[in-house]
């Protein structure tokens, strides 16, 4: 696995793109650092992190677009997948390399709060540290999404664009939805029905057994209807809960407020692991088709 990480990191820094990404990222942070902390005479560096995290929407897709798309296009995946490496090792290696890249970029920006801390008496160390933790974990979660998309296609541009759109939805549209969504049970019920139908479709496709798929669907739909009819309170907030599960960026608020809660950390790591798992599956499926 370390060999894959090393190789990927070398690839990032063997072209100008890697350096340009780091430079752009640091520059963005520097601008906000100047505007908020220096010009605004403010020690709240976590504000900078909060404002610059939007750059992940551009940076992560560029970083992850080639991870698997390039390999399958150049057929170099033939080397990786016929070597004694396990698919898991390859996927984890690639994921960690992109995460390392983000970590390297972030570690440069640590200079700003360090400088700041020399000149202020009430520097909010805890909030900055937890802000960085959330910043890093969110980037890592985004990387897993980007990597997953990259495994679906062999076109880097498509990969970057689709990752960008998905991250945009996660980052901007879902938090917005959380504010406007109706809390009604009816809406939750409709969502539940849709989810059951999607699940039924996947179930049917993967087992290739229409009869079993329809049966499972009918049973689940009956159960959902029963819940809706007899105890609709159970469905209350389901829709919101569902949306907020995918809303990676709203979790960041806790970190930003200086709250390092285990549940948020587990959430981010679990989110990454889920997409790593999907990536492994997609690759195995493709080869096992």
């Amino acid at each position: 696995m370390t060999s894959v990480i090393k190789k990927e990191l070398r690839t990032y820094f063997s072209s100008v793109i890697g350096y340009a990404l780091v430079a752009g990222f640091v520059l963005m942070n520097a601008i906000f650092f100047y505007a908020i902390n220096l010009d605004g005479r403010n020690t709240a560096f976590y504000e900078v992190l909060n404002n610059t995290s939007i750059i992940f929407l551009i940076m992560v897709p560029i970083l992850t677009m080639r991870l698997f798309a390039e390999e399958s296009k150049q057929k170099t995946d033939q080397l990786l997948f016929t070597s004694p490496l396990k698919t898991e090792q390859v996927v984890f290696g690639k994921y960690l390399s992109a995460v390392c890249f983000m970590g390297i970029s972030m570690s440069i920006t640590v200079l700003f709060p360090v400088i700041l801390s020399f000149f202020s008496e009430d520097f909010p160390t805890a909030q900055v540290v937890s802000g960085y933790a959330g910043y890093f974990l969110m980037a890592a979660a985004f990387v897993s999404v980007g990597m997953f998309v990259s495994a679906l296609t062999d076109n880097q541009i498509v990969s970057a664009f689709v990752s960008f759109v998905i991250l945009l939805i996660i980052y901007i549209i879902l938090p917005f939805l959380l504010y406007v969504l109706p809390g009604e049970t009816m809406a939750s019920f409709v969502l539940l029905v849709l989810l059951i139908l999607v699940f039924g479709l996947f179930f049917t496709l993967s087992t290739k057994n229409l009869y079993a798929g329809v049966t499972v669907c009918v049973i689940l739909l009956a159960a959902a209807s029963a819940v809706y009819y007899f105890n609709p309170l159970l469905l209350d907030g389901f829709l919101r809960g569902f949306v907020s599960w995918f809303s990676v960026s709203s979790r960041f608020d806790n970190f930003y407020n200086g709250v390092l809660s285990l549940s948020d950390i587990v959430y981010y790591i679990g989110f990454s692991l889920a997409f790593i798992y999907f990536t492994i599956n997609v690759i195995e499926k493709r080869r096992w088709k």
């Binding site: 060999s3 090393k6 190789k7 690839t11 170099t76 033939q78 080397l79 070597s83 004694p84 088709k289």
Partner: protein, 315 residues
């Protein structure tokens, strides 16, 4: 040693490889022949574990490629159709990376990279980016990659493609010397190459094995002993008259290739040696026999024969 049992690969309703079985012993070079799209690459991809089989097993040195992939893959070196090179690495960096993922011991890495570069003669190119290499050099780097870690089994998909004649000869020498210690499968659609390098030839067409034997046996099987080409200096009737004195033969295919002479193709119905009988018949009738040679069946002819007859059936 490679054992392939009832290997099948289906894409939708289309059989890319249909129920093929064969064994390659240690120290044997097997040539895989077939027209484009016959299923050579698919078979190799399955043997190396790059794609899965719809059904059937590939067993490499006793380890099933799907059940014990790490163990099996350790013993395989694979050179795919396009050498899997990373364009942003130099030859040296690339081979070092290959050594790492193939689990060559750290202490031996440097040495094995150096030895392999010498074996395939790319030492001069070691600091070049692989994207700047010519096709021939890419192919050699690919071969070095396959040989990394000294695997027992080498699977080479069209190893000499894109090389110039001198390089082809060198590559053949390398592969032949590899064949002494390793089990090698190589694919090609160049027949002379296969007959020059391989102990055994397997012709595959439309996903099925249509012929499998040593090159000599194949030639013998397809040639038939009693087929002769003769060139005589006489009129047509006289020659046919003389030939009709020999029982059990038929003559045909007459053509004049040289002024004043005629060529005939003579076939013995019982596959017996008829050279003496033909000579004596000509001699008795006072016909000058200018040339007589047995029909030599090349691998090309066999190939065309087995693949086209199979194609006719399928259509």
């Amino acid at each position: 040693m490679i054992e392939v049992k009832n290997l099948t690969k289906r894409f939708g309703s289309n059989y890319a490889v249909n129920d093929i079985s064969f064994t390659v012993n240690d120290g044997e070079i097997l040539g895989f022949l077939g027209p484009n799209g016959a299923g050579k690459t698919t078979t190799m991809n399955m043997i190396t574990g790059y794609i899965s089989a719809t059904s059937g097993d590939c067993i490499i040195n006793g380890a099933d490629i799907l059940a014990q992939p790490e163990k099996a893959k350790k013993n395989i070196g694979y050179l795919p159709e396009n050498p899997p090179l990373y364009n942003d690495m130099t030859v040296m960096e690339y081979l070092n990376f290959v050594a790492e993922i193939k689990k060559v011991k750290p202490a031996e890495r440097k040495k094995s990279v150096r030895t392999l570069m010498e074996t395939v003669k790319i030492t001069d190119m070691k600091n070049r980016l692989t994207k700047n290499l010519s096709k021939g050099y890419r192919q050699r780097v690919g071969l070095a990659q396959a040989m990394m870690g000294n695997p027992d089994v080498l699977i080479l998909d069209e190893p000499t493609i894109g090389l110039d004649p001198k390089q082809i000869n060198e590559m053949r020498e390398v592969i032949k010397s590899l064949g002494k210690k390793h089990t090698v499968i190589l694919s090609s659609h160049i027949l002379t190459e296969v007959s020059a390098m391989c102990d055994r030839v397997m012709i595959i067409s439309r996903g099925k094995i249509v012929a499998s034997d040593t090159t000599e046996n194949l030639s013998a099987a397809f040639a038939g002993a009693g087929k002769l080409l003769i060139r005589v200096k006489a009129e047509r009737e006289r020659v046919l008259d003389a030939l009709s004195q020999i029982p059990g033969i038929s003559a045909g295919g007459e053509i004049s290739r040289e002024a004043g002479t005629l060529d005939f193709t003579i076939t013995s119905e019982e596959d017996t040696d008829i050279r003496e009988a033909v000579f004596n018949a000509m001699h008795r009738n006072g016909i000058s026999l200018l040339m007589m040679k047995p029909f030599d069946v090349s691998l090309e002819d066999i190939f065309l024969q087995v693949t086209s007859s199979d194609g006719g059936e399928a259509q």
